[in-house]
């Protein structure tokens, strides 16, 4: 009983456009629901993959949903129903694959499935069903030869067995991003300051090698400095979003991305990063209008300090002293599934209070966020926003603070997180929500 929601990304938002639209939409939904209920599910057996506490492996469940889409079988994402479960036609291969991958599922008769859809469509329930139709083509912006274990998104995709391609500066500058539905930015420092690790790691072989490699690449692509190359890449990604792409970034790839865009007319890198001094008027020359998410932020000018700006809160170098892992939690917002499907999709979870985790960028300061953004999760009663979403052009972007949801303080050289031990991680689920979100059918809304 799918409402077969036809929506346009640009119209997705936290506020309904107007009440008459809502009324018409409700009627449309009701009609579709009845028709679909009768035709499609009454006689068909279904597989329900619950995503509440019953689920044995939440992360692999996303992989199953993705795998099913690759077999040209549609998936209904039942928003807010049993933790955001998936309903799939009851093919044997689906059941078998669930068993092989260790994903819990239930077999429903046509009548039982109809009941589920009826419950979802009821106006009394904050639930909805979103049809997923096509496995999104995924790219990760990551330097060649880097290992997946230092990036939570790549770890999650590897564990969930969701395929992805790696792209790097050449591909981005050659507009190859347009071949992809979704891009994740690995822990990149778009400001060209190599993560501001200079103070602690300037003599470490990996740091030296990275700097040389980046400089080589910049020269090869015709840029004088790495910071200039990274800014050009950031701008290309922005064009990709404007053209309808989905971008997801975590940790320092979030704020450095915006800082790089803002620093178009100035040089914010000190001598150890790009061979010459920073522009001492850099702060004044920032152009916040170029940013996707942040404005009015203040740069951290000390090149030896492990922080980029005041967007990150609490600052990376003192976060550990200020936060107590035992009491560090953030809360997911609840959205109206029927009117705000996008934020609802992005916040599907079996827990709404989630354990915090540190990163080079951990939380975003709310007062420095652009007013058009949607806060998806925050630390209640503070200025700390953990998870945000916004639209740009025809596309969207989502920023998620922190490095690894299951490693409170992940440091350089730490061993990789073994997700077999965190199959039900609510923090990792938020990442995987983002991957499925572009699979939702996109079409102009009938208004």
């Amino acid at each position: 009983m799918i409402c077969n929601l036809q929506f346009a990304i640009c119209n997705w938002g936290t506020n309904p456009l107007n009440s008459s639209f809502n009324l018409r939409r409700k009627l449309l939904v009701a009609c579709c629901s009845l028709l679909s209920a009768f035709c499609s599910t009454l006689f068909a057996q279904k597989v329900l993959i619950p995503m509440d506490l019953k689920q044995t492996d939440h992360l692999k469940a996303y992989g199953i949903a993705y795998w099913v889409l690759t077999k040209n079988i549609e998936v209904d994402w039942l928003l807010n129903y049993q933790g955001g479960s998936f309903m799939i036609d009851g093919f044997d291969i689906v059941k078998s694959e669930c068993r092989i991958r260790g994903v819990w599922f239930e077999e429903l008769s046509g009548a039982q499935a109809s009941q589920v859809y009826a419950e979802i469509q009821s106006e009394d329930n904050n639930m909805d069903a979103i049809r997923l139709e096509k496995a999104p083509k995924i790219a990760v912006y990551v330097r060649p030869n880097s290992l997946p274990w230092d990036d939570a998104v790549m770890l999650a995709m590897e564990y969930a067995e969701i395929p992805y391609d790696r792209v790097w500066d050449d591909e981005v500058l050659q507009d190859k991003l347009l071949q992809y539905d979704w891009i994740h930015l690995h822990h990149e420092d778009f400001t060209g300051q190599y993560g501001k690790f200079y103070f602690s790691f300037s003599h470490a072989p990996w740091y030296i090698e990275q700097q040389v490699m980046y400089e080589k690449k910049a020269k090869e692509l015709g840029f004088r400095k790495v910071s200039e190359l990274k800014r050009a890449v950031a701008e290309k990604i922005k064009e990709y979003i404007a053209a309808g792409g989905f971008m997801f970034a975590m940790c320092s790839a979030t704020d450095t991305y915006d800082i790089a865009l803002a620093a178009q007319n100035t040089d914010i890198c000190d001598i150890m990063y790009d061979g010459d001094a920073a522009d001492h008027d850099a702060q004044k020359k920032l152009d916040y209008a170029q940013c996707l998410a942040f404005e009015n932020f203040t740069l951290e000018k000390n090149p030896l300090r492990y922080e980029y700006s005041d967007i990150d809160i609490p600052p990376s170098d003192i976060a550990l002293a200020l936060l107590n892992p035992e009491s560090d939690y953030f809360t997911l917002f609840e959205f109206s599934a029927k009117y705000d499907p996008v934020p609802t999709m992005l916040t599907q979870n079996h827990a709404n209070i989630i354990r915090g985790f540190l990163g080079q960028t951990t939380n975003f300061k709310k007062s420095l966020m652009k007013k058009t953004l949607t806060v998806l999760a925050e630390k209640e009663g503070t200025e700390e926003v953990r998870y945000l979403h916004g639209n740009f052009g025809r596309g969207t972007f989502t920023f998620y603070g922190g490095h690894d949801p299951e490693d409170y303080r992940h440091e350089v050289g730490d061993p990789p997180t073994d997700l077999r031990l965190h199959k039900n991680s609510p923090g990792y689920r938020l990442i995987l929500n983002n991957i499925l979100f572009p699979a939702a059918k996109k079409k102009q809304q009938k208004t």
Partner: protein
């Protein structure tokens, strides 16, 4: 005249004091302004700092500290043209100051005017072409400007100009490795070893930084191989090459290198022995065996000869140890070897090797350990029970002063008697190990389990349970699991009477004694006689297992299927499905049916302890990239 004579000196003294006071006042003012400028600079107010430095420099253009501060500020504020003018004015005074020249060149580089920068660096070199420091200063300046390839070229020029091909080796190697030119980096590091063989450890640590990079190990190995070919007498180069081979797990190649090293360094087998130990640890058995043998044969007076011989024998033995982690069919893996005959020659060699140790080092602990290994091989691999018994009895008689080995021998001897059917003697051996007091060590616990099993095989179930009670009380003991499962089995099948259990125990005894055909008959008869007892499902499973061990896989599958069909509530079904999968996969080589069995297990028993293994096997057979 007298007054005039006094006035002049007085005047000159006064003038001199005035000049000094004025001069001191001026110097004081300069100091204050300089400090103020520095504090502006520290606080980030570069413009104010610059004004003060400019003012001070105008007043005293010879002051090097002020000039340096002014240069720094110009560069900080990217006012490169003014920095260049400043440096040029300083160079007018000291035109051959290499430090100033390299600073000027760096500023041109910052300005992206590389040709000018190169011109100035050339001027710097021209100042003193025969001085090592000149090249070092220029190359450092180029490195700071991140012109690594040019810095390397300067070092190379320095070498040639000074006629010393070993100069700057470490610097050049480091620069090459930074540029990821591992070939050239390695060549330079090899030069370093040639200059100073004691640098091997340092070079190894530097090279280790890039052997993990893509292509790094292959390239480095190739370069070192070339070097070794050109300089075969250099032991350190061989050592480096052997290390690289081992990093790549090419133990076979490392072996030949170590043979050379041992010979060239007059190590009398020490190098070879250490290499053999490492190869054994890394499970490179063939190489380890070959190397141990070399040590034994080439160095008859090697101080650790006994250990080398034992290492050799262990290597032969372990090379064949196929591990069946699930142990679905007990200790003997029915699919591990195509046939026992194939494995026998290798084990025979191991026995010969152990025998050799005993002959050469009689009455030692290593001889005792060797004798125990012989007994185990005879018992488990050759089923030569008399042979095993004989070895174990010698152990008891001649090696009692090694209590741990002697106790192990007693337990094993008990097992041999048990299999030979002499349960009384078996019990006596177990009893000797178990003792009469509390169970304080693993040998005692294992002996007590064996005693309980004996009671069970004899049909003395209450006595068996009594023995097991002591063991199940200790959750930390390794024997607890065995004890618990036997306890549970007896308790469940004693009701309403123990007639069927008695028959089962008889069959089980034959099975344990490896009398498979007899055991099969007993189990089959039990199914006929007691078709409605709870023990039948366990009986069927045993029949299936025996048929599998007899390699009658088709019949085994049919038995397991009967069990699935007739006893859908049996707790042994998940294990049975796993066994079916394994028989299909490893006995009948039928992947489709094997996957089917494993899938069935996943479907019916999603919480089974076997699900992870079943999933893994399905995915391996499907060829999934996991």
């Amino acid at each position: 005249m007298q007054i005039r004579g006094l006035v002049l000196p007085l005047l000159s003294v006064l003038l001199s004091i005035g000049w000094t006071v004025n001069s001191l006042a001026q110097r004081g003012e300069t100091d204050i302004k300089f400090r103020l400028a520095q504090s502006y600079e520290r606080s980030g107010d570069f413009e104010s700092a610059l004004k003060l430095y400019q003012e001070l420099h105008q007043k005293d253009s010879t002051n090097a500290a002020i000039a340096e501060a002014l240069r720094r500020l110009y560069v900080q504020l990217k006012r490169y043209d003014e920095a260049i003018v400043l440096m040029q004015s300083l160079l007018l005074v000291t035109p051959n100051d290499i430090g100033l020249l390299t600073q000027l060149a760096s500023i041109f580089a910052l300005k992206s005017d590389e040709p000018k920068a190169l011109e100035v660096w050339e001027r710097a070199i021209a100042v003193d072409t025969k001085n090592e420091i000149t090249y070092r200063l220029v190359a450092n300046s180029m490195t700071q400007s991140r012109l690594f390839d040019r810095a390397i070229a300067i070092y190379a020029r320095g070498r040639s100009a000074l006629g010393n091909s070993t100069l700057f080796t470490s610097d050049i190697a480091y620069l090459y490795s930074m540029m990821m030119n591992y070939r050239e980096a390695t060549r330079e590091y090899l030069n370093l070893i040639r200059q100073n063989p004691n640098q091997l450890g340092y070079v190894q640590s530097r090279i280790a930084m890039y052997t993990g990079r893509e292509g790094g190990l292959e390239l480095t190995t190739h370069v070192v191989e070339e070097a070794v070919n050109n300089d075969p007498g250099n032991v350190q180069l061989h050592q480096l090459l052997a290390w690289l081979y081992m990093e790549a797990r090419h133990f076979d190649k490392a072996y030949y290198v170590y043979k050379l090293i041992d010979a060239k360094s007059n190590a009398s087998g020490n190098e070879l022995y250490n290499f053999a130990e490492r190869a054994l640890r890394e499970k490179a058995y063939t190489t380890a065996a070959k190397t141990f043998q070399d040590v034994i044969q080439l160095y008859p007076k090697f101080p650790h000869r006994a250990q080398a011989k034992f290492g050799y024998a262990r290597t032969l033995e372990e090379a064949d140890a196929a591990i069946d982690t699930l142990k679905l069919f007990g200790d003997k893996n029915p699919f591990g070897e195509k046939s026992d005959e194939e494995a026998k020659p290798r084990f025979s060699n191991a026995i010969i090797a152990y025998d050799d140790i005993i002959r050469e080092f009689p009455s030692t602990e290593i001889a005792a350990r060797s004798l125990l290994r012989i007994a185990i091989l005879k018992q488990e691999k050759f089923f030569d029970l008399d042979g095993a018994r004989s070895s174990l009895e010698i152990l008891q008689r001649d090696y009692a002063r090694f209590p741990s080995i002697a106790n192990e021998a007693r337990l094993r001897l008990g097992d041999v008697f048990f299999i030979l059917g002499d349960l009384q003697k078996a019990e006596s051996q177990y009893q000797m190990v178990a003792g009469k007091g509390p169970l304080i060590n693993e040998h005692q616990e294992r002996a007590t389990v064996r005693l309980a099993e004996l009671r069970y095989f004899q049909g003395l179930f209450p006595e068996a349970l009594e023995k097991l009670k002591a063991l199940t009380a200790n959750p930390l003991s390794n024997a607890t699991n065995d004890a618990l499962s036997l306890q549970l089995f007896i308790q469940e099948n004693m009701k309403p009477n123990d007639a069927a259990l008695r028959e089962f125990a008889k069959a089980d005894l034959r099975k344990r004694q490896n009398k498979l055909s007899e055991a099969l008959k007993y189990f089959e008869s039990l199914v006929q006689t007691y078709p409605n007892t709870d023990i039948v499902d366990e009986t069927l499973m045993n029949i299936g297992d025996i048929l599998t061990q007899m390699k009658r896989y088709g019949e085994a599958i049919a038995t397991y299927e009967k069990m699935l069909k007739d006893f859908p509530q049996s707790i042994a079904l998940e294990r049975t499905l796993m066994k079916m999968g394994e028989v299909y996969e490893r006995g009948l080589y039928d992947k489709t049916k094997a996957i089917g069995s494993y899938e069935q297990l996943l479907k019916l028993y999603p919480n089974s302890i076997y699900v992870n293994e079943a999933r893994k096997r399905i995915r391996e057979m499907r060829g999934d990239n996991i």
